[in-house]
Amino acid sequence: MLAPLALLALLPLAGIIILLYLLRLRRREVIIPSVFLWRRAVQDVQANAPFQKLRRNLLLLLQLAALTALVAGLAAPYVMARRLAGRSTVIVLDASASMQAKDEGGTRLEQAKQRAAEIVKAMGRRDEAALVVTAARASVALPFSGDRRRLLAALKAAQPTDCPTNMRDGLLLALSLAGKRPKARVYVLTDGAFPPLPSVASPAEIRFLRLGRRNDNVAILAFEAARPPGAKEHQVFLRLKNYAPQAKQCVVSLYQGEDLLDAEQVELRPGENRVETYGLALKKAGVLRADLEVQDDLPADNVAYAFAEPAAPLSVLLVTPGNLFLEQALVVLPEVKVFKAAGLSAEEATAAYTKYDVLVFDRVTPPAAPASGAVMLIAAEGWGQPVTLGQEIASPTITQWDSQHPVLRYVNLSAVQIAKARALEPAAGATVLARAGDRAVVVAQERAELRALAFGWNFLDSDLPLRVGFPVLLSNSVRWLAQARGGAKPITVRPGALLRFAAPAEANEAEVTLPDGRRRTVTATGGQVAFTDTNRVGLYHMRAGDQEWRWAVDLRNPEESDLSPKGELKLGERKVAAGTGPPKVEQHLWPYLALFALAVLLGEWHLYHRRY
């Protein structure tokens, strides 16, 4: 109530109306011979005399009601209601794996949808909102719209995934949507389970609506199977982590197909990081599954897959003017046979592409472009693919790298000292694995029957060969590259990964069986089948023509598995504290009161005329 004194006007005005009413009631008296006929003429009206009286009074009451409404409108009453207050709002909905976690009052995603719905419902008439859903990839679920029903429908359609959170893309997408709209505001609905975000500069205001209250989760963070050279048994490596603040009892079971290989009860202390190793005598190669039986909030990280490879040594041709570190590191890799050459002619190179599993060009430009095979380029120019060497960078620091990529898994590049490097200009279709600032220094390319990996610096110009991660990096690289021709071999990927397979020439489409048994048809273009719908954890199977592929998707993401509630959102140096929904603002009620008064007056008018 902004002007309560205005209510005082009610007294004199109501007095005037009542006075006029009383004056109006004075009927003209007319003496007539007899009311005999009149008595009957007005009988049906008189019959319900109480109502008549009421109706007569009703007019007065209606007039008084209209007056009261108008005066009340003058007093400028308001209610505090959640309102977006004429803003362009972008809602960023996190649909990643951690949002599937059960929490107090439904899953985090359900709560997020509910809070997003509250925001949508708080929209005013001129407000607009857009919805960005982000998981492994960010997408605009609905561009700016003022239509609440469409927004609510788009919200409802948002599906949970088992993917890690790509909040960076989601946020950038939201900010670019918000653009230069005035009073734009971005609501980020997430549990904060993702790596710190880069700082962003945007006129839009960013608000963080935190989801998640508890943290009760045990996750499989790593699962690998390998057979040391000469060994009979596969060594299976499993890393578990208990994120819960209390001890957890769980049962770990290892399966190959439907066969239970091993099972073990494990008790994990709060926060414990446990590594389990198993020696398993496997009769055949194939996919191993680790199952974690435990009562926790997030089931997606309770399963992991690993591929037990058959023991066949990989042949690697190292073309180098001389690099002892590289040579020695390759030689000690298990099941790798290293060949050396100082240089290759074009014909030799073409033959070598098919002969060797992997070719490593150290500071040597490949004399011919490979049709298939696997090529690693170290400070070497490509054949137009996958990279061309750009300008030189002095003492770059690797600031960002894709630790989820098989090549860089378990490798820490943050402290690597590099004297000088050449920036890599990735060709189309190549992905950047590591950057120094905004320049690419590690690039991978994956095509049908061909994989290429390029490093922008000479390893001898850095302390990388002296680091613990170097043999791991080489091992990862060789294994990843060696899969170039092993398309039919099962692989394990992270949720949301983009998979490309070389399809048989005659196949136009491929049929994919998803973990839940649904089938999906994918068209093959240019001899390639690309599949992106790897949002769910489990085993996938694809068939194109007479060729078959199998792959497994598991989470293995410490950020997603860590369900601990985050109090703030870090954007570079900036911190956004967890906030509430749209603010409550004064919503004036006088238009409604005026409308009400108008309606009452119309009703009064109608009633008045009905009496004649």
Partner: protein, 301 residues
């Protein structure tokens, strides 16, 4: 609807001489044959001495031998007595409503009624009938003596001129009083607006008594077709009862429907007893009503 001027006392004003002359040629016609008091010009229920043959009956000793039918005796050898119609006078009763409700209209219903009563009485006097005037209102009823012969007309007019409209309408009581007071059955003219809930009782009482009756129902123009507008408080002139009415098309429509139903009901009730009914609005002239409308109804000939 203003108060009327005081009633006129002179006979000449009551009815114009020209009108009186025209009235002298008229006569009251009754559809029923009733017993009169003295020898008159109307066929009586009694057998009597007129020249008009009525019936035969067997002779009984003591009968007047003058009326024996000797021709019949010659043929049949039996004695028959010839009976002739008796002609007697007619009793004409005029029941005049002098309640306050009659004191409305232009001319007032009361003035109109007095004129009409004078005209009817004059017709009756001229044709040698007996006339008795009854003026009724709530609380008092007055009746005149029996007038007979044209010479009584001034006295009759005088009596009429002395009447004043006052009191309420008690139709039922008035008819009962008339029947008790009337010396013999006759034709009764009821001049009233009949605006009283007991109108039906009054007519049926007259009907049960066996006499003839003609109801002359008088309305003012305003009653027939109200013109008042606005929010009105209608006050009954007799009872003081009030009705609050907001005049408008629908209320007027209801009133007119009610009026027509009322008139139809009165007419039907009258016809049930074989009575005549004439509805008159006071702006019609008395002369036309008496000499044309009543003639059409064959009450006057």
């Amino acid at each position: 609807m203003s108060r009327p001027a005081a009633s006129r006392s002179t006979r000449s004003y009551l009815l114009s001489p020209q009108f009186l002359r025209r009235l002298e040629q008229a006569a009251i016609a009754s559809r029923r044959i009733m017993v009169g008091r003295t020898k008159g010009e109307r066929r009586s229920a009694r057998k009597g001495t007129s020249v008009e043959f009525a019936d035969f009956r067997s002779y009984t000793p003591g009968d007047d031998l003058r009326y024996l039918d000797w021709n019949a005796y010659a043929r049949l050898q039996r004695l028959f007595l010839k009976l002739f119609m008796e002609e007697e006078d007619l009793h004409v009763y005029l029941l005049l409503d002098t309640s306050r409700s009659m004191d409305f209209g232009s001319p007032t219903k009361f003035a109109w009624s007095v004129q009409a009563a004078a005209a009817l009485a004059y017709i009756a006097l001229c044709s040698g009938d007996r006339v008795v005037l009854f003026a009724h209102a709530e609380g008092e009823g007055r009746n005149s003596r029996i007038y007979r012969g044209q010479g009584c007309a001034p006295e009759l007019f005088e009596w009429l001129a002395r009447l004043r409209p006052e009191g309420g309408t008690v139709l039922s009581g008035a008819s009962k009083w008339l029947l008790n007071t009337a010396p013999a059955p006759g034709i009764t003219f009821v001049v009233s607006d009949l605006l009283s809930p007991d109108w039906e009782a009054a007519i049926s009482r007259l009907g049960a008594a066996g006499g003839d009756c003609c109801a002359l129902q008088v309305f003012s123009r305003e009653e027939f077709q109200p013109t008042a507008q606005g929010d009105l408080r209608l006050v009954d002139s007799e009872t003081g009862q009030a009705r609050e009415v907001t005049m408008g098309a629908s209320v007027l429509r209801r009133y007119l429907r009610e009026r027509d139903e009322f008139l139809t009901a009165v007419r039907k009730t009258c016809h049930r007893y074989g009575f005549s009914h004439l509805f008159v609005v006071t702006d019609e002239s008395v002369e036309d009503v008496i000499l044309k409308s009543l003639r059409r109804l064959q009450v006057v000939r």
